[in-house]
């Protein structure tokens, strides 16, 4: 297994900060906009974004977390059942501009389930997608992100791992390539 660093700790944080600026350009004061992190790994990115908004921009944003387990299309096609995480959306989604937040965009199937799960809470005005890493050319559904931290070209056999300081000990993005 070959290991390559895609984003070093410094670049990692610059990238997320840039994403926060892009969000402000489009959503201004966030009076009508909400960020929703997808369980489990998108929630870490959401927490970091929220921290940057609070400290760097001195701005409060409304956030929720969404579990998509029951909306996945690979139930019964995996070896083990999917065990759900917590959903926490304690506000009205109706007519809001929702930004879904996830760490990696790969096949697009998670995002499809995420949109399905979100619609169970009402009819948002719009849904956008923010990801830290966009794995280009690996999509299985016609889904694209609106805010992208870094676009990369990968093979389906490769694995991208986003690591967080408070969980894995270091902020970084790694690419694992299976050795032949």
């Amino acid at each position: 297994m070959e290991r390559q660093i895609l984003l070093s700790p410094l670049l990692f944080n610059h990238t997320i900060e840039r994403l926060s600026h892009e969000l402000i350009e489009k959503h201004n004061d966030f009076s009508d906009s909400i960020l929703i992190g997808l369980q489990p790994r998108g929630v870490h990115l959401l927490t970091r974004l929220k921290y940057i908004f609070n400290t760097v921009h001195q701005q409060e944003i409304q956030c929720g977390v969404l579990d998509i387990t029951f909306y996945r299309d690979d139930f019964r096609r995996r070896e083990k059942p999917l065990i759900p995480s917590v959903t926490n959306i304690d506000f009205i989604v109706e007519n809001k501009k929702v930004i879904l937040v996830d760490d990696v965009l790969f096949t697009g199937r998670t995002i499809r389930s995420g949109m399905d799960a979100l619609l169970a809470f009402g009819r948002p005005k719009s849904i956008e997608l923010l990801v830290l890493i966009d794995r280009r050319f690996t999509r299985e559904l016609p889904i694209q992100a609106d805010f992208v931290g870094r676009t990369i070209d990968t093979l389906t056999s490769e694995r991208v791992s986003v690591e967080w300081k408070d969980i894995e000990g270091k902020d970084q993005v790694l690419l694992y390539t299976p050795s032949e």
Partner: protein
Amino acid sequence: MEQLSVKHLLGIKELTENDIHLIFKTAESFKQVINRPIKKVPSLRDITIANLFFENSTRTKLSFELAEKRLSADILNFSAAQSSVKKGETLIDTVNNILSMKVDMVVMRHSKPGAPHFLSQKVNARIINAGDGTHEHPTQALLDAFSIKEKLGEINGKKIVIIGDILHSRVALSNIYCLQKCGAEVMVCGPHTLIPKDIHLLGVKVEHNLINALKWCDIANVLRIQLERQDIQYFPSLREYSMLYGLNKEIFKKIDKEIFIMHPGPINRGVEITSDVADSSQSIILQQVENGVAIRMAVIYLLAAQI
């Protein structure tokens, strides 16, 4: 603990402690789902479930049906009263005929203890026991324990008394297994004739005085007198039973302690429990019914994952 250790839910006896915790954890998520504006998830849209009720049921049948619908499964309903069972068809034939219509799971209630166990060895489908005679009623025990956990925060170390017709009650047996696996202390309380002679071998306390039992417990689970299963008279009259073992406001004044009341339904108001107790804030009877849907969704979901 990511998968159930069993292929069928035949009884609590066959479940491990981990299985029970996995079902509770999954049920918590489903409870969130059924409180959303859209109460339905698409997980089981490629599964067909047959509900076979060879014995009458209202609550359990509706609860299973709703759980299946909330999971987007296709369902078939069958009640013995209007079927070929009356024409002499055997249980295996009935079920195999239904299964040849490509059914993946069977929810069954039957008056004969062990009927779902027998079926699970003979047919190729997942079986959920929705009550077999006087034997087990596993989903009821799971929802009872789940409701206790929700109310008291945990089950471990809590004291629960089951009051009434223990002899004819499948709810009592399943509850004893389930609560003990979760670490609770269990007592049974009722007249001598309605308590099985050797029940202490299951590790439960036995008490015949209602006041003593209530003073001991954190939660009282009150059972219905199952007159339809009683072939002889076990007590002189309902009135006498009600005077000795019926729960009413006066008794709670005497024990001077906050305990919660549960009942698996249907309630016989004025027999085992009076209206002022059944409708009081101590009673969590309606929460039990709500939790029943979430628990059944969790059980069906976890079993379907293995198909």
